[in-house]
């Protein structure tokens, strides 16, 4: 029954579309530059489901995990796929950071930017069994700790590591940073008390937060998160203070953006811009944004390019200041 309804819809969409518009002729690969179950993978699966359920595209979408070499595998794969319009990369800040820290021969300008579809937050978390209830108490405890507090994160010399370094610089506390393979691993290691804290994305710690195993101390943004419905028994995302309110001036937002390989035709890019614009209007996308506390944005064309250049410069500064740029 459902199928019948969709096929009518599809038929309608088909007849309504301009006659000469380009469309994918084979399955489209969403390339994920991270391991299974990470934030990028979850997002790719959401997109795959939303596009399939709402029949936004005739060809199926296939999620292709290329998390090897901390995501460098995906970048090289996209670079080598120049001219192939059946691959889209779901990118995050690694496109700026990896070429700096590991000298990967890659530059995002070699790919074709399609759209920015969300911005991701970072939150400072600790384990609920620890005595400190606020950021101030946590930092005070961290300063006096010997051996130093352990901070879990994903990968080395990347966003989580950079945030840890800046947290150290602004507060004077010292942390032992433990680079795990994924945000999920960082979350369970925090719950198991093998680390004292982490700086995971909301989505990565959501379930353990709801189960009351970790505490959200503060969010690294200028303003509080907008979602006011209760997530745990007592708190909504909006109840988490910003780190600035708590006296630590560290801010970081991470892009979630879609890229095609280089040298694709303008009408091919246009198809995907349109596809992702429609995606951001689906209820699946909106639910996902709220549940995982992402900032919904949609940037494309010139505004996206400006954003990328600015973001690139910002990330480069952070990496240089943290001392993570390989020479």
């Amino acid at each position: 029954m459902k199928f019948a309804k969709w096929s009518t819809l599809a038929l309608f969409a088909l007849t309504a579309a301009p006659a000469l518009a380009w469309e994918p002729s084979k399955p489209v690969e969403i390339v994920v530059a991270a391991g299974a179950g990470g934030a990028s993978d979850q997002m790719a699966r959401m997109m795959q489901a939303a596009i399939q359920k709402n029949n936004l595209m005739k060809q199926p979408m296939v999620v292709s995990l290329k998390g090897g070499a901390s995501g460098a595998e995906a970048l090289i794969y996209m670079k080598s796929g120049a001219g192939d319009p059946h691959k889209v990369l779901i990118a995050y800040s690694l496109i700026y950071m990896l070429p700096l820290s590991a000298k990967i021969p890659f530059n995002w300008r070699e790919l074709t930017p399609v759209s920015v579809i969300a911005l991701d937050q970072f939150v400072l978390w600790d384990n609920t069994t620890l005595p400190h209830k606020s950021v101030k108490e946590f930092i005070a405890a961290a300063k006096g700790a010997n051996p130093p507090f352990k901070m879990g994160g994903t990968g080395s010399k990347r966003e989580d590591h950079v945030l840890t370094v800046f947290l150290e610089k602004r507060t004077g506390a010292k942390f032992a940073y433990l680079p795990y393979k994924s945000g999920g691993e960082a979350a369970t290691q925090l719950v198991g008390n093998h680390t004292q804290s982490n700086v995971n994305n909301p989505s990565e710690n959501l379930e353990v937060w709801r189960a009351g195993q970790v505490r959200a101390l503060c969010v690294f943004d200028k303003e509080r998160m907008q979602y006011k419905s209760k997530v745990t028994d007592a708190m909504s995302w909006n109840d988490v203070p910003t780190c600035k309110e708590e006296g630590i001036d560290v801010q970081y937002l991470m892009l979630r953006a879609m890229f095609l390989p280089g040298k694709v035709a303008p009408e091919q890019t246009a198809f995907y811009v349109d596809l992702f614009r429609k995606l951001t209007q689906t209820s699946e996308y909106k639910d996902y944004m709220e549940k995982q506390a992402l900032k919904p944005v949609f940037l494309t064309g010139k505004s996206m390019l400006d954003f990328l250049e600015e973001d690139d410069a910002l990330n480069k500064n952070l990496m240089t200041e943290a001392g993570f740029v390989a020479n």
Binding site: R45, G68, A72, E73, S156, L178, G192, E207
Partner: protein, 510 residues
Amino acid sequence: MEAFGLLVYGFSVLLTWKILALMMVGLVLGIFVGVLPGLGGPNGVAILLPLTFTMDPTSAIVMLSCIYWGALFGGAITSILFNIPGEAWSVATTFDGYPMAQQGKAAEALTAAFTSSFIGSLVAVLLITFLAPGIASFALRFGPPEFFAVYLLTFCSFVGLGREEKHKTIISMALGLLLAGVGMDTVSGQLRMTFGFDELLRGINFLVAVIGLFGISEILLTMEERLALRGHAASISLRVVLKVWKEMPRYWVTLLRSSAIGCWLGITPGGAIAASFMSYNLAKRFSKDKESFGKGRIEGVFAPETAAHASGTSALLPMLALGIPGSGTAAILLGGLMVWGLNPGPLLFVEHKGFVWGLIASMYLGNVVGLILVLTTVPIFAAVLRVPFSAIAPMIVVSCAIGAYAIQNAMFDIWLMLLFGVVGYVFKKIGIPLAPFTLALVLGNRAEDSFRLSMIGSGGDMRVFWSNGLVGSITTLALVLLLWPLIGGAFGRMRSAFARKTATGTADVR
């Protein structure tokens, strides 16, 4: 008996014609992807995942987990018949399964593999059913030192075991560990041993190496001998099945030990691969007749299969309870859960009872139905041996290439596979054992990472490996196993001196 009530509830969720039909479809698809070398469980589940998006979560997970059970069963088939492990954890099954097939006991080997898989999974499901809440918190006690201790235990259970000369075992393991390190180093974020080649960035994939080392090299070796093949028609499956089943109770210790190892390594994500190797080695070590291992001993099939499947099944527990996938396939199922709008975590057991207990009930049903299904298809698969080798050989080459390519969509991997084929051929002929190499290639990186994370955490203090009862006892057990040849040798000498045997009287400590 709260668990029992919930289980009955789970069965009530399952017993509809629609779900039962989906189970059958899932099992058949699973066996199919398990038999195709290189496709295997994780790829098969990943490829078929999109089919389930329009289903309700319970039907979807039942179908996917049945694909998973099917793939687990199917992986044994190619290992035994062609010496090509369809899955990484089937490598240990080839050690005795393939010699059995060559001796004309293919049907026995397959029956043994399927039945022990069934027993392994059953033990694991029982464990999941009754220990779910408690085990979730046990898994949380595993930090970097504990993980390192488990990997150490796996390696130590290996050293000093083979018939091969010691320096050759060391060469094999060192080479495996080195190749495992190629690519990005997670802990420092640095590249190493890539020599500027983009293709080496992602490292050397374990499955590509295994397909070359085992599949391609085996064809070269077979060709060198003769093209003649001996197989068993396996037409009377029921008689063979009953014969194998009659033999099984004799190996109850092996079955029990392997199930325990499997469950333990599945829950603490050590993985089915480590479990299958470890239980094969232990079965060999504790056997009175060590010589016959590797030459077609049925116990050598029971041990790794039981452990691999116990671990493959119990890997679902940390996935559901914590969101840590214990295996590659579990990781993909995890992705599936999230697509259906379920978030794995401790609350899943509270908020989605029907889903969780439906899944657990489907593990019981899926395994029983799966066992019957594979046993009835044994004759079909064993009959493949009738086809002349000169037709089968190129088909195996093609299947190997497809498998090697599909893992990462890289042409480079096909060349790598060919290279490993030659290496495997030469190594086999000069007596360098391949098993330590494969084990090291799989676990090398994880072992190194967990060691280095432990060091960062402790500020470089080695005592962290004895810092609590859990990690201390695993580390100690590992060292005991490592030194077992010496300890066992001393015992043996004492015994033989006591018995006043020959003047040379040293015990055989291989």
